[in-house]
């Protein structure tokens, strides 16, 4: 098993060792370990023994299965009783929110291709390679003029909101986005391909519209689907096209990828590693979504 913060390695099921490590890091006030404990397990200092029990409970996949556990942790983080601020903003998004989305997400999608390429470079499983090829084409390559990629639809959304393609493409990522891209790149370089699959494709749960019905813990979806309705003039047609594409593609993308993660993590004995890297990735994703809001602030109160 791995530490979900620094990926330090421990033996299979070695929760006492993991707890000892986290306790030690917390005692020396290490920001990342303390923050992780505060946000995920408990804010109250406990003994190593109690912490081992709590960590075991938090990581337990026995009841839900690995995929159910991933969905639960994702929902708690982004769609729970206190949804992520970007999810709140996207329910009925302002022009500024959508532009924040465009300018940061273009960089995410380029990293996406690199991350999928790492998976393909490291695996010899045909079903995984075929899945990744299709995913990369949908997200970035596109299938000709009739089916533009998610990346192209994103840029068109930005253009419909008043930015030129040149302005969009020449805007670099905010530092928070850059930090996130570096984490995902490191995951691709250093982790097993099954862990990378969980880290990246687990993030597609963000637009999985089934989650809200499937998980009672989910209080909202990624956005209010009413904004996509034909009669709604809340967002531009290009913004509808972009959001609709993700809304339709990401159910299949995330479910199929998680099915592959489930299959291979059990087959290769990687369940605990997958859990740790997935938790790292959703932590990173939370910060990245805040960067979209930070970028949006630059456009608040501005019409062009």
């Amino acid at each position: 098993m791995k530490c979900p913060v620094c990926w330090a390695e421990f033996g299979t099921g070695a929760y006492e060792a993991l707890a000892g490590h986290m306790h030690g890091e917390a005692e020396r006030s290490d920001v990342n370990h303390v923050m992780w404990l505060n946000r995920n397990v408990t804010k109250t200092r406990t003994s190593r023994e109690e912490l081992a029990v709590m960590l075991r409970r938090y990581m337990d996949v026995a009841g839900l299965g690995l995929v159910g556990w991933m969905k639960l942790r994702f929902v708690e983080r982004f769609f729970g009783s206190r949804p992520h601020p970007f999810v709140v903003a996207l329910q009925h998004p302002s022009r500024a929110t959508l532009l924040g989305y465009v300018l940061e997400h273009q960089h995410f999608l380029k990293q996406w291709v690199r991350s999928c390429a790492y998976i393909m470079a490291k695996t010899d499983r045909e079903d995984v390679i075929l899945y990744e090829l299709d995913n990369v084409n949908t997200e970035f390559g596109g299938y000709g003029p009739q089916r533009p990629s998610h990346y192209e639809l994103l840029i068109r959304m930005g253009e419909s909101l008043g930015l030129s393609r040149e302005e969009i493409l020449s805007t670099g990522p905010l530092p928070e986005t850059q930090r996130a891209l570096e984490v995902w790149d490191r995951i691709g370089r250093e982790c097993h391909w099954v862990e990378t699959m969980a880290a990246m494709h687990g993030l597609e749960l963000i637009a999985n519209r089934n989650l809200k019905n499937e998980m009672r813990e989910a209080t909202v979806g990624y956005f209010d689907p009413a904004i996509l309705e034909a009669g709604s003039r809340e967002i531009t047609e290009e913004a509808k096209a972009f959001l609709r594409e993700g809304y339709e593609a990401d159910v299949e993308h995330s479910e199929e990828a998680l099915r592959l993660v489930d299959k291979y993590s059990h087959q290769l004995g990687l369940v605990e590693g997958v859990q740790a890297v997935f938790l790292s990735s959703i932590d990173t994703f939370s910060g990245y979504l805040m960067a979209r809001l930070q970028r949006a602030q630059q456009f608040e109160g501005r019409n062009c």
Partner: protein, 96 residues
Amino acid sequence: MRVEGTGCAICGSTWGDYWEEVDGQSLFFCCSLCATQFKNMVQEVKRRTGWKAVAEVRMAGDYRGRECTAFSPDGKEYSFAIWFDSQGGIQGFKPI
């Protein structure tokens, strides 16, 4: 300066052992990031209100955003919402 509870001055956690002086008083924080956030918050309140010191801060919320009320030594109140970037800098601040 008075803060609620016995844990970290900003998030309430009792992990860690990090102390920093704020307005002449040594305060407990769980980590350096929370200390940075707290100091930035106090500084911003003083800048916006013109107060020389902050006597107390009450907070609700979590790392995604907090609603706070600050009190001056002579009993004035100032309420605001605040959220931080990953380095502890103020990403958003709205008077309520």
